[in-house]
């Protein structure tokens, strides 16, 4: 067993864990933050995507001990003071989800995309950049629309992307 100390959604957490514990297991099982999902075992689907120190990382292929000391944001930590993040709003407004299973990863990935590529995202950019996330329900059509709108809304809201996310 090993001790790991992290900040998760702004709260300090510390736990004694089996060193082989994956970050996604740590979040889901130890912290009961079940919004982060597991959709595959080959790091392909992005259902597990969280932000580690402001960058998108797949939590299914990250050992919890390897991110000791880091600040993690999960889908549960994206809304601030009860107010939805603009990207969350955009997914609802544009029907960017159906079963909702890929959605947390999609939204975290989308916020990261805006962080990296700015507020004006065209369809081609979004589609290419979304390569690490699989959705089986939506055919991506409305996810693409939601991300474009969410990116713009993040710009308009004047929140710098990183502040909005972390």
């Amino acid at each position: 067993m090993t001790t790991v100390s992290l900040t998760v959604n702004g709260k300090a957490v510390s736990a004694n864990i089996d060193p082989r514990t994956l970050l996604v297991q740590f979040l889901r099982e130890n912290l009961r933050l079940t919004g982060t999902h597991v959709g595959c075992d080959t790091s392909q689907c992005g259902a597990c995507l969280v932000h580690i120190d402001g960058k998108a990382v797949k939590a299914c292929t990250t050992l919890a001990v390897s991110v000791d000391g880091a600040a993690i944001t999960t889908i549960e930590g994206l809304a601030q003071d009860g107010k939805l993040h603009p990207m969350q709003e955009a997914f609802r407004e544009h029907h960017g989800l159906q079963c909702g299973f890929c959605t947390p990863g999609m939204i975290m990935s989308a916020v990261d995309m805006v962080n990296r590529r700015g507020h004006e995202l065209d369809e081609k950019t979004i589609r290419e950049d979304l390569d690490g996330n699989i959705c089986r329900c939506t055919g991506y059509h409305n996810i693409v629309k939601a991300i474009a709108a969410g990116a713009e809304a993040m710009g308009k809201a004047g929140v710098t992307t990183r502040q909005a996310a972390e």
Partner: protein, 787 residues
């Protein structure tokens, strides 16, 4: 139309929990004291189990129990069932082998369930599973669909030539006669590639047993929790229905694969009592690939006969359908009654004859996957139509138009009586959206850039609203396919609707509430939709076959009728008027010709306080239930056109435009309906271009992860132009036809027709991967050079 009523693009009520990470899927359920299950699976496609030694494993840390087929048998736990009896041509019943939840001396596919280990942690369960010693005697494997019948190896003794049934539909003599008189015959050999459904949420189960009450609870990823309970109770024998609660909470996509009752949930709920602890199992993706029921896998020879003018005379089809190693819950119905009755497509075809041989192989069971039989039928029909048009030198749109059914109702030669439709209207609209007139120029532009452009059509029809119980009963179904609803009005006028339908992405919590809001004239926020728990909701049949709108909402509609009727009685007392003089509209009960009225909420309160009437004459309360059994299938239909460009240097196919015009009858929420179309098209494009489950000759699944099985990603797809035409369905009160499967049914032939148009070939197999397209393109180029 009100802002939240029928026809409005209401934003989804369920979304808040999903976008904030508060969805509650089965793997999110954790019961106090919960242990973990891990299934030891067969590494061989086919083997005898000589012995299983669990002794060393049982002594390993954390292990609570290890169970095999012998333990299930000792507890008289029955095998998994197939709920649809198909009869052979000679009238004899299909030949089905047993399907034990844990192997009984024999394994029949890679991933077959050998034993389960229940331990404190998953890691401990996995470690212990590695220590189980199984002595296998390997047998040769039967893998290929076309070669299974008559193979030396026999998979089930009950089916000595590996054939489950030889079935047929239609009039053979009439069809043969029509072929003799034909001027032109088109022949095609087609493979409908095997697919893995891959809902993003893997299957999962949590079994729990309350020893005090003797009650089992199963949380499971199911599209139909009541059907699961029925099967687990009546056939498998876990416990009587009143002692077994099945909960399907949020379910992360199903596409058919979560209809079926699988080994894992059966074993988890049973094992919970054995070990005296809740037992959880969640598939990893590789287990999902190995053990979820797969889809499609047909090998078909088909012929279409036309006269000198291009009028279709007859269709003849022979299909071999692979059902895998065991018969899954509804597997036998898919290549039969969900397939052959759709072979008339949108066309007036006087004679049709279809033969289907279903075979066992040493592969995962095959069952319904989005569209289930109907995509396979549409692929046969639309490929034949396209190739025939080309061979006759006719424009594919005009050739379709020439042969469309125009008069309704229309009785096809293969069971179905189409009630209504306007196929020409959908075609016209789709041609406009895609700008068919400009295709010549666009092809030339592509050619100048060194690319090959093609356009492909698909005029599909499906039979949804599954299904009239008497009809399916006569065809072999073991259940009726009605739906139930209960509308509970609370004393202050808020409403809970309990439905037997199950939502796993379809947005029922919104669309069903729209119906209630619309009809009762109350705010949509005052309506809650409850589903997925057998303790809360009366018996229902669940969600598949695009049935929840046409059948599930019709049940709600009927229950609302009864609520309004009861409300009128209450209002008559309160307003001191004759019941016959009470009207109900816009949320108010009124007395004809007066200004006296009672709003819906006040009526509910009056129904519960019962001060204004004698409770002997009129029962207090306002709650009504209904069962709705449809009188016919519904027939959504439409036209999809795919336009694409191929780079002959790389073989990469880029879909450039997609026009979809569908007639779903009355649409409750166009936003949600369009979303269903988008998702369906993506799955169909996946089948046409990317996806294919492959077993090697030893029966090893070589596409068992997202590294090897290509799922459609965002940059594989275009945005879609979705339009609609509407002919209301006459057989249900709302006029709904259903929309869930259309995209997956329509799209594969549209893509293949477009690729073959671009390449100038008659056929290319699915999936048309870049490698396959590149090879075909080289042939086109050398042919063009020679010409």
């Amino acid at each position: 139309m009100s802002a939240t009523g029928i026809g409005a693009a209401v934003r989804r009520k369920e979304d808040h929990r999903f976008i904030t990470g508060q969805g509650r899927y089965t793997d999110d359920v954790n019961r106090p004291g919960q242990a973990q299950a891990y299934f030891l699976r067969s590494p061989h496609a086919h083997a005898k189990i000589k012995s299983i030694d669990t002794k060393a494993a049982a002594a390993m840390p954390g292990v609570l129990g290890i169970f095999t087929g012998a333990d299930l048998a000792a507890d008289k736990i029955g095998g998994l069932i197939c709920g649809w009896m198909i009869h052979n041509k000679d009238g004899s019943p299909m030949r089905a082998g047993a399907h034990p939840a844990l192997a009984q001396g024999r394994v029949r596919y890679v991933g077959d369930h050998v034993a389960v280990v229940v331990a404190e942690t998953l890691a401990q369960a996995k470690d212990a599973a590695e220590a189980i010693v199984v002595d296998y005697q390997e047998l040769s494997a039967v893998v290929e669909t076309a070669k299974a019948a008559g193979a030396k190896t026999v998979i089930h003794d009950e089916a000595p030539d590996n054939t489950v049934f030889n079935w047929h539909l239609g009039d053979k003599d009439a069809t043969d006669k029509a072929f003799k008189a034909a001027k032109h015959v088109t022949k095609l050999d087609l493979v409908n590639n095997r697919l893995v459904p891959n809902a993003m949420e893997p299957r999962a189960a949590v079994g729990d047993y309350d020893a005090g009450e003797g009650i089992f609870t199963l949380y499971t990823t199911s599209q139909n929790p009541h059907v699961a309970r029925l099967v687990l109770s009546a056939f498998i024998g876990i416990a009587p229905e009143n002692k077994l609660r099945v909960i399907a909470p949020d379910v992360g996509g199903g596409f058919g694969s979560k209809i079926f009752i699988y080994a894992e949930e059966t074993v988890c709920v049973w094992a919970a009592k054995k070990v005296g602890r809740p037992v959880k199992w969640t598939a990893d993706r590789t287990e999902a690939f190995l053990s979820d029921a797969h889809g499609r896998d047909h090998v078909t020879h088909a012929e279409l006969a036309t006269d000198a003018d291009g009028k279709i005379l007859a269709l003849k089809v022979h299909t071999t359908a692979n059902l895998g190693a065991y018969l899954s819950t509804f597997s036998s119905s898919v290549p039969t009654y969900l397939y052959a009755p759709l072979l008339s497509g949108q066309y007036d075809i006087p004679a049709i004859y279809c033969e289907v041989d279903a075979v066992y192989t040493n592969t995962a069971p095959v069952d319904a996957y989005r569209g289930a039989g109907r995509p396979e039928a549409t692929f046969v029909v639309e490929r034949l139509i396209e190739v025939t048009a080309r061979q006759l030198g006719k424009d594919p749109a005009k050739f379709r138009l020439q042969n469309y059914i125009r008069k309704f109702p229309h009785q096809t030669p293969v069971i179905m009586a189409y009630d209504t439709g306007n196929y020409a209207a959908s075609l016209k609209k789709a041609l406009e959206i895609i700008d068919y007139k400009g295709i010549g120029k666009r092809k030339r532009d592509s050619a100048r850039a060194g690319k090959l452009r093609g356009i492909g059509f698909s005029s599909y029809i499906e039979a949804c609203g599954i299904a009239p119980s008497a009809a399916v009963g006569s065809l072999g179904a073991g259940v009726g396919l009605w739906e139930s609803a209960e509308v509970r009005v609370n004393p202050i006028g808020t409403v809970e609707v309990l439905t037997g339908s199950h939502s796993h992405g379809q947005g029922h919590e919104t669309t069903f509430a729209q119906l209630v809001s619309d009809r009762l004239g109350i705010p949509i926020d005052n309506v809650s939709i409850i589903h997925g728990d057998t303790d809360k909701v009366q018996m229902g049949m669940g969600t598949y076959g695009s049935r929840s709108g046409a059948v599930g909402m019709s049940a709600i509609y009927k229950a609302i009728d009864k609520v309004i009727a009861k409300g009128k009685k209450v209002a008559a007392y309160v307003l001191e008027a004759d019941e016959a003089d009470i009207d109900f509209a816009d949320g108010n009960f009124t007395v004809k010709g007066t200004d006296r009225k009672l709003d819906f909420g006040s009526c509910a309160l009056q129904a519960y306080v019962a001060h204004k009437f004698n409770g002997q004459e009129l029962e207090p309360g306002l709650k009504e239930g209904a069962f709705y059994d449809p009188t016919n299938f519904t027939f959504p239909a439409g036209v999809h056109i795919c336009e694409l460009e191929i780079d002959p240097q790389t073989g990469v196919t880029k879909i450039d435009r997609w026009a979809a015009v569908d007639d779903f009858g009355v649409v409750i929420n166009p936003m949600i309906v369009e979303g269903q179309v988008h998702g369906g098209i993506a799955q169909g494009v996946g089948q046409a271009l990317l996806e294919g489950a492959r077993y090697n000759s030893d029966g090893q699944l070589v596409t068992a992860s997202f590294m090897d099985y290509t799922m459609p990603r965002a940059d594989d797809l275009p945005s879609f132009d979705v339009g609609m035409t509407v002919t209301p369905c006459p057989s249900n009160p709302l006029g709904i036809k259903g929309c869930g499967e259309a995209g997956a049914i329509a799209s594969p032939p549209a893509v293949i027709n477009a690729i073959t148009d671009a390449l100038g070939h008659e056929d290319i197999a699915m999936p048309a991967t870049p490698q396959a397209v590149w090879r075909a393109a080289q042939k086109s180029i050398s042919r063009l050079a020679a010409e």
